[in-house]
């Protein structure tokens, strides 16, 4: 959904970041670059939980008096509901802090337009696999602490299963809760399996942990950017053809989802 230019407003993209993995923050900056290039906002900035600039420092990046804050996170959960509001000192959908008005949008991962991005990514990674002979698995971290972290994935699974995408099966699977991604072959009834990691970046989980759980690699390898050769699809494993994509957040069109969340905020709270 195209949004009207906001020449007097700033966009603040909030990410997790990492002190260990240099690839972790790359997608956020790419999303910011993409939106900045469209000239829709007076300013576009990123801030992070684990990297610089921090969420508290973000205030000092911004000159505009109105700021849209979009968590570039994959689900509602601890960070979007506790950490980000606490660090940015947000008390509701709109908060005025030292003369600046902050609008707190929903995270990108819960927007309905993510469905199209998942299907697009699945088709990119396995362009010749017949959906009728293919299982699509959307995988995430999973944690017993917060059910919301898996809800976004389960919602996407339901949407795709109900669509006309034609996959023989559409499943959710997780690193640390059932159904486990390590059991991908037992979960999948088809000869082809496409796995799309529902993460923002190709960081520790999607490019180092999950490949081990899938059986693509015997042990955790270096960061994605430090590899000479990215993984080659398909991987003949456990009697099936496995297609593994990079994290959904590395899709450049996530920039559109960020703008969708700004648009939806305006529809919900400003009209």
């Amino acid at each position: 959904m195209p949004i009207a230019p906001k020449p007097n407003s700033a966009l603040l993209i909030v990410g997790h970041g990492s002190t260990q993995n240099p690839d972790s923050s790359t997608p956020y900056f790419e999303h910011a670059d993409e939106i900045r290039s469209r000239g829709l906002f007076a300013e576009v900035h990123c801030c992070f939980w684990k990297e610089e600039p921090s969420l508290r420092e973000a205030f000092y990046l911004i000159d505009s008096d109105e700021v849209y804050v979009v968590p570039d996170f994959i689900s509602e959960g601890y960070f979007t509901q506790d950490v980000i509001p606490r660090e940015l000192q947000l008390s509701g959908p709109t908060t005025v802090i030292r003369g600046k008005t902050f609008h707190y949008c929903l995270p990108v991962g819960v927007h309905p337009s993510m469905t199209d991005l998942i299907l697009r990514r699945a088709k990119q990674v396995a362009p010749h696999a017949d959906p009728a002979a293919t299982t699509l698995i959307i995988t995430g971290h999973g944690t017993g602490f917060n059910q919301n972290s898996t809800k976004a994935i389960r919602d996407q699974v339901a949407l795709i299963a109900a669509s006309n995408a034609g996959y023989a099966a559409v499943l959710d699977a997780f690193m640390e809760e059932q159904p486990f991604i390590a059991d991908w072959d037992k979960l999948s009834p088809t000869p082809n399996v496409v796995v799309v990691p529902f993460f923002i970046s190709d960081g520790l989980h999607s490019f180092q942990d999950i490949p081990v759980l899938l059986g693509i690699e015997a042990e955790i390898g270096p960061a994605a950017s430090q590899r000479e050769v990215f993984r080659h699809n398909p991987h003949p494993l456990r009697g099936k053809s496995l297609f593994y994509s990079s994290a959904i957040g590395t899709e450049r069109l996530i920039a559109d989802v960020i703008l969708d969340q700004v648009h939806d905020f305006d529809i919900t709270y400003k009209h």
């Binding site: 002190t19 240099p22 939980w49 610089e52 600039p53 000092y60």
Partner: protein, 233 residues
């Protein structure tokens, strides 16, 4: 503000030398180097950034037009290691960045030294809010809650090895343990955020208004290592 500051003699931030280039000089330099000239807004000076150790020239420098390469340059040290703290004194050399406007200058500097221009401007304008360490630790949640139990002594002991001006961070620490408890004197707590060879009036200081999350992570490691009930490691 930034353009004015550079016009008035500010030429350094961290390890980066900032040079304001007159349009005519700039076009001549580009011509001498065989660089295709780009449009320069006559109302704005353009700017050149490079590592301070390369400011005198002397060897081949990779030329970057615009701020796009700043994040990559800032992310990796010469040895390829990841610079997760951007004020580490190991910025790679061998490059020069040409910027068309003060907006691009700010964009580039915010990649090299995130938020440091804004922090400095806020300090000059009297609006910089400093957050002391105890307050930062008190608001931690989840697994980080246990950092609240660290004693003042334990926290003081963490500052020199975590915030040393040599390695890893060259920011000037503005925060204390709490409003009544300053940091003990050390190389880390006395760094002024300005390179020693540059006058204070000619540099944008690198300011630390609040302990970073790297410091909090070190607090968590110390909290996990401490003996139960002692508050000390």
């Amino acid at each position: 503000m930034l353009r004015l500051a550079v016009a008035n003699g500010i030429h350094r931030i961290g390890e980066i030398e900032i040079e304001s280039i007159d349009c005519n000089d700039r076009l001549k330099q580009d011509d001498d180097r065989g660089i295709a000239p780009f449009q320069v807004n006559a109302a704005n000076n353009s700017f050149k950034l490079c590592h301070a150790d390369d400011a005198a020239g002397g060897h081949d420098l990779a030329i970057h037009q615009g701020p796009a390469a700043a994040r990559e340059l800032a992310s990796y040290a010469e040895d390829g290691s990841y610079r997760f703290l951007k004020a580490q004194r190991n910025l790679r050399r061998g490059w020069v960045m040409l910027l068309e406007s003060a907006e691009d200058l700010r964009l580039a500097l915010d990649q090299f030294y995130p938020a440091c221009v804004g922090l400095w401007l806020a300090q000059r304008g009297g609006s910089l809010e400093v957050e002391h360490l105890r307050s930062k630790l008190q608001r931690q949640s989840g697994m980080y809650q246990r950092v609240r139990a660290l004693s003042d002594d334990a926290l003081q002991a963490l500052v020199p090895p975590t915030c040393s001006p040599a390695v890893p961070c060259a920011r000037r620490i503005l925060w204390q343990i709490d409003a009544h408890t300053p940091l003990l004197p050390s190389a880390a707590s006395s760094d002024d955020g300005i390179p020693a060879e540059v006058a204070a009036t000619e540099a944008i200081p690198l300011l630390c208004r609040e302990a970073c999350n790297h410091f909090v992570a070190e607090c968590l490691a110390a909290a996990k290592a401490q003996k139960p009930g002692t508050g000390c490691a």
